[in-house]
C-alpha cells in the first residue's frame, strides 16, 4: 500500500472511530460479579437490558437520577452470585422524542428488555412501535396506560391514582380550597383533568386552575392569579428545569400555603438550584422508602432492601436517593427477577404477566397480569416535606 493511501486509511479510521464515539451515545456497563454463577444459571447468558435515559437536554437533571438508580440496581443484583447476571447498555435520548425513538431502534435488536424511556415525551414516541413486538419496554411513566397484552409495562400507578392520594391527603388535613398549576403538555393536562374529575369526590373545591407553557420564562401571572384566589393549598404538576421557574413565581407571589408537587419534581439538583426561592411548605407524594423507620416489623425484608439500597447509594454517589432513582432501580429489579430463568424476550413478557409479585424498593411489591400492564403496587403513597436549609426531606404525617 502506498504511503499516501495508508495515511488516508489511517485518517478515515480515526474519523470513523471519533464519529462512532461521538454519535453512538451508548455505553455498556457490565459490572464485575463478585462470584461465579451457580450451575442453574450457567446455561443462560447475561440478561441484556437496554436503558433509554435523558442524559442531556432539558430533562437531564431527571435523567441523572434515573441513570443512578439503574446503575446501582445493576450492581446490587449482580453482586449476588446465585442470580443470572444482567448487562445494561445505556442510550441517551437527549430529552427528545426523536432521541428516544432512535435509542429504541438502536437497542431493540440487542436487548431482552428495555427500561425507559421514563419521561412522557420519550415514551410517547416509542410506544407506537414498541407496543406490539418484543422486546418488553418497562417504564415508570404514569400516563401511558399500556394496553392489555402489549409489550409495554408501567410500574408507577396512573396519574388519576396519584391525584387521588393527593386529594385524600388534603382532605385528611382539612384543606378544601385547592388551586392547580400544571404544565401545558400531555402529562400536565392529564393531571389537570384528573384534578377536575376527582375534586368533588374528596370534597375539594378547585378555586383556580392555571397552566403554563413548559418553555415559558415567566409564570408570575399564573402565580398571581393563584395568590388572588386564596387557596389553602396548591397542587403543581411539572417536570424538568421548569420547576425552578415555577417555584420562583410561587415564592414571588408570596404564596405561603402548602404546595404539593408531583414525583417527577422530586429532584435534588433542581431543588438545590431553586435555593431559598421555594414556598415555606413544599410537599411531595412518595412512599415509605423515604422513612424506613415507619416500615412495620412484619415487613423486615422490605426494610432491609431499603436500607441496603440507601446505604450503597450514599456510598456510591455521596447523596440520598430521590424518588426517580428508586423508581428506575425497581424497573431494573423487576426485569431481572422476571428474566431470571427465561431465554427469550417473548417468554420474558409472559413471566411479567404471570401475576407473580416482584420485589422493589420504592414499593414493596409489584405485579402485572395479561390484562393489567399497570403495576398493582403495595403499599400506597405517603408524603414528604422538603427542608431547604438542609436540602433533605422528611415524612409529613
Amino acid at each position: 500500500m502506498k504511503r499516501g493511501t495508508r495515511l488516508w486509511a489511517f485518517l478515515v479510521a480515526i474519523v470513523s472511530l471519533w464519529l462512532f464515539v461521538a454519535c453512538g451515545g451508548s455505553e455498556e456497563a457490565t459490572p464485575s460479579p463478585s462470584a461465579s454463577p451457580t450451575s442453574g444459571q450457567q446455561a443462560l447468558r447475561p440478561l441484556q437490558i437496554g436503558h433509554i435515559v435523558d442524559q442531556t437536554g432539558a430533562l437531564a437533571p431527571l435523567g441523572a437520577s434515573y441513570l443512578r438508580g439503574v446503575e446501582l440496581a445493576t450492581e446490587i443484583w449482580n453482586a449476588d452470585a446465585t442470580r443470572r447476571k444482567v448487562t445494561v447498555r445505556v442510550c441517551d435520548s437527549q430529552s427528545t422524542g426523536e432521541g428516544a425513538l432512535a435509542c429504541y431502534r438502536q437497542l431493540e435488536g440487542w436487548a431482552d428488555a428495555i427500561v425507559g424511556p421514563n419521561l412522557f415525551v420519550g415514551l410517547a414516541s416509542v410506544r407506537g412501535v414498541a407496543s406490539g413486538k418484543p422486546p418488553v419496554v418497562i417504564s415508570t411513566v404514569p400516563f401511558v396506560e399500556p394496553p392489555a397484552n402489549s409489550y409495554i409495562f408501567q410500574t408507577i400507578p396512573n396519574v388519576e391514582d396519584a391525584v387521588a392520594v393527593v386529594f385524600q391527603y388534603f382532605q385528611r388535613k382539612g384543606i378544601r380550597r385547592v388551586a392547580t398549576l400544571t404544565s401545558n403538555d400531555q402529562p400536565g393536562n392529564l393531571a389537570k383533568d384528573a384534578a377536575s374529575k376527582l375534586a368533588g369526590n374528596y370534597n375539594i373545591q378547585l378555586v383556580r386552575s392555571e397552566v403554563f407553557d413548559p418553555q415559558a420564562q415567566n409564570v408570575a401571572p399564573q402565580a398571581q392569579n393563584i395568590a388572588a384566589a386564596q387557596p389553602e393549598a396548591v397542587f403543581v404538576w411539572t417536570a424538568g428545569a421548569q420547576l425552578i421557574t415555577v417555584l420562583r413565581a410561587i415564592h414571588g407571589a408570596n404564596i405561603t400555603v402548602p404546595v404539593m408537587l408531583n414525583y417527577a419534581s422530586m429532584n435534588l439538583p433542581l431543588l438545590r438550584q431553586a435555593g431559598n426561592d421555594v414556598p415555606p411548605e413544599l410537599l411531595f407524594f412518595a412512599t415509605d422508602v423515604f422513612d424506613p423507620s415507619s416500615v412495620a416489623a412484619n415487613r423486615q425484608a422490605y426494610k432491609d432492601r431499603i436500607e441496603t439500597f440507601n446505604r450503597q447509594y450514599q456510598a456510591k454517589y455521596g447523596a440520598v436517593p430521590d424518588l426517580l432513582a428508586y423508581a428506575t432501580a425497581d424497573i431494573l429489579f423487576i426485569v431481572a427477577q422476571a428474566g431470571a430463568n427465561v431465554d427469550s424476550p417473548a417468554v420474558l413478557k409472559q413471566a411479567l404477566e404471570s401475576g407473580a409479585e416482584f420485589q422493589g424498593v420504592l414499593f414493596e411489591g409489584y405485579s402485572f397480569s395479561r390484562e393489567q400492564h399497570v403495576a398493582r403496587v403495595k403499599p400506597g403513597f405517603s408524603f414528604l416535606r422538603w427542608n431547604p436549609s438542609s436540602a433533605t426531606w422528611s415524612l409529613a404525617r
Partner: protein, 291 residues
C-alpha cells in the same frame, strides 16, 4: 382583580419585555448600521447567560459572570462581523438573513460544546426583594431592567447624538457614499456589532436569576426580540424597548386575565389588533416620531 395583582402581573411583563427589548435594540441597531436582521442575537444572549452561570459554578463572582457574559457577547458578535458579514458586503438581504441564521445555529452549537445541553439558572447580583404597598419585585429583576434600560439609553445617545452614530446610519443607508465621505465603514460596523453583542450578553448574564436558560431557546428569543423591534417600525432604539414592554405586558396580562393556555396566541392577537387599530389612529407613527 386587585391593584397589587395588577402591578405584580404588570411588572413580570416589564422584566420579560425588557429581555425582548434588549434583543430588539440590538436588532434595530444592526439594521441601521448594515441593513441586517441579525437572527443570532438570541443565541448570543443565551451564550452570555450560560457563561455567567459557568463562572458562578466555577468559583467566580456573580458580577464577574455578568461582565464575562457581556464581553463574550461582544466577542461573538465581532467574530461574526469579521469572519462572515464583512465578506458578504453587497449580498442580498435574504443571503444576509441566511448567514445570520447559520450563525445562530453555530452559536447554539457552541453553547452545547462549552456548557452542555442542560438548562441552567444562577445567582443574582443582589438577591432579596422590594415591597411597596402590594407591589413586590425581586431586586434582581429591578437591576436587570435598570441596567438594560441604562445601557440601551447610552446606545441611543451614541446613535442619535454622536457623530459616530450619525455615521452609523449613513453607512447603513449607503456604505459606498459613506466611505467616500471618509467614514471607515468597516471599523464602524465592527464597533456597532461589538456594542450590540455586549448589550445582549449583558442582558443574558443579568437575566440568569430570573429564569432558566438552555441552548435551545435562543431563536425563540430572537423572534420575540424581532417583535419588540418591529412594533415601532424597526428604526427606533427606544421604540424597541417600548415594543418589548408592550409585548411583555400583552403576554403577562393575556396569561393572567384571558387564558394561560393560549397566552402567546392571545399576546400576538392583541398585538395584531393594536397594530391595525393603531395604524388607523396613526398611533404608532406618533410614538415613532416621538422616540
Amino acid at each position: 382583580m386587585s391593584l397589587a395583582q395588577l402591578l405584580n402581573v404588570g411588572w413580570s411583563g416589564i422584566w420579560l419585555g425588557t429581555l425582548y427589548g434588549a434583543i430588539g435594540v440590538g436588532l434595530v441597531l444592526s439594521f441601521r448600521s448594515a441593513r441586517l436582521v441579525n437572527l443570532s442575537l438570541g443565541p448570543v444572549l443565551v451564550f452570555g447567560g450560560m457563561l455567567a452561570a459557568w463562572v458562578q459554578t466555577h468559583g467566580g463572582t456573580t458580577a464577574g459572570g455578568v461582565l464575562a457574559a457581556s464581553a463574550a457577547g461582544a466577542a461573538l458578535s465581532l467574530a461574526q462581523e469579521t469572519a462572515m458579514l464583512r465578506r458578504l458586503r453587497g449580498a442580498s438581504g435574504s443571503m444576509l438573513l441566511l448567514a445570520t441564521l447559520s450563525a445562530s445555529i453555530i452559536v447554539a452549537g457552541l453553547i452545547v460544546i462549552f456548557f452542555g445541553r442542560d438548562p441552567v439558572t444562577g445567582e443574582g447580583l443582589v438577591g432579596g426583594s422590594l415591597s411597596l404597598g402590594g407591589w413586590s419585585a425581586s431586586w434582581d429583576s429591578i437591576v436587570f431592567v435598570a441596567v438594560v434600560v441604562g445601557a440601551s439609553t447610552l446606545l441611543w445617545a451614541f446613535a442619535e447624538a454622536s457623530p459616530y452614530g450619525k455615521a452609523v446610519s449613513a453607512s447603513g443607508h449607503d456604505p459606498a457614499a459613506a466611505a467616500m465621505l471618509g467614514i471607515d465603514v468597516r471599523l464602524l460596523r465592527s464597533l456597532v456589532m461589538g456594542l450590540i453583542g455586549g448589550l445582549v450578553g449583558l442582558a443574558g448574564g443579568l437575566f440568569l436569576p430570573l429564569a432558566v436558560l438552555d441552548f435551545s431557546i435562543g431563536l425563540r428569543l430572537t423572534l420575540f426580540g424581532f417583535v419588540a423591534g418591529a412594533v415601532f417600525g424597526y428604526e427606533s432604539l427606544p421604540g424597541a424597548l417600548l415594543g418589548g414592554w408592550l409585548f411583555g405586558l400583552l403576554d403577562a396580562f393575556g396569561t393572567a386575565y384571558v387564558s394561560s393556555v393560549f397566552s402567546e396566541a392571545v399576546a400576538f392577537g392583541a398585538l395584531l389588533v393594536l397594530i391595525v387599530a393603531g395604524r388607523r389612529l396613526l398611533l404608532f407613527e406618533s410614538i415613532l416620531r416621538w422616540t
